[in-house]
Symmetry: C2
Subunit: 210 residues, 2 copies
Amino acid sequence: MNNGQIMKRVAVFASGRGTNLQALIEATKKGEIPAKIVLVITDREDAQALRRAAQNFIKAFYLSPEGLTREEYDTLLLRFLQDNQIDLIALAGFMRILSPVLIRAYPNKILNIHPSLLPAFPGLHAQRQALEYGVKVTGCTVHLVDEEVDHGPIVIQRTVPVYDTDTEETLSARILEQEHIAYPEALKLLAEDRLIVQGRRVFIRDAGTT
Amino acid sequence: MNNGQIMKRVAVFASGRGTNLQALIEATKKGEIPAKIVLVITDREDAQALRRAAQNFIKAFYLSPEGLTREEYDTLLLRFLQDNQIDLIALAGFMRILSPVLIRAYPNKILNIHPSLLPAFPGLHAQRQALEYGVKVTGCTVHLVDEEVDHGPIVIQRTVPVYDTDTEETLSARILEQEHIAYPEALKLLAEDRLIVQGRRVFIRDAGTT
């Protein structure tokens, strides 16, 4: 369903298990998103994301942050991105805060996913924060990345209930299911150039009936 | 469906239109909640809540806050409550912050409803805050009242979507529909003594299958 649209070239940054990377790989392979994941970047040598990339014949780089400032690291990343003609970036459990070097080079072109309904529970261990606060509903948020952490304009949010019997693990698993739906949806909208960002609000072009 | 349970005597505090008061009146009249609204208190002489109380033959007081400290005001209120053997309190758009005088006299016996998914968007104009932040999901929260504003342990949360076309009015109306479902549900749980408060978490006794 490419409809003559240009395929966007996407880089995914990941530090951990890479299940969101996997969800994005599978979604883009189906051909419903005018985007192709052509590069995976990680800051951790042992990230499972490297193996997932290899299994899917996607070029992957491990770039060690050792001895580099954040700006130096991001300047190197930016060179990789430019060498590979990257249009869009998806952060998938990438455990580094991006510097303005990258964010200004890709304005409203970088997505992040966070396991809470932002602005509630930003930062680490969002699921644990939600349990400890005692909310009855939580979820996940896909947002465009700006220069503040877990802060940029929101593209999609999906909710899950919190049960009395929940542990951090059961709640995280329930949220993850929704992440794997929300992230491909958001990448599709971004790749189709359908996001209209006005201040903090993100409107969807040609959203059809809601 | 009283099942031999003692009917809890409820006071509702309201300052405005009193639509949540109306929802609670209707729900308790159906006989599904072991509670009876026997007192309505307002701090505004022109509150529609007074008319709703009269129409339903519920005793109502207007207590002017003029010239009184918060503690003096609440001490007077407490006397009304005790004179009327009030067991539970429901805040329904009551535009005053309760002092410890009342909160300590009714520990975990006071409910409040707020038009957002707390901890997001506490305080005034929660719906406008949500629109301006650009969230895609918001809702309402019924919580027990503690000594911080919009902060106590959460009993029920219900969600609504935010649409691109929403204004503060349309979003507020969509949330209000959910408030009118959530508030009677929460009062029922409280009146049935089914809330187990552990720190910030509220568990439901005999919740059945979730």
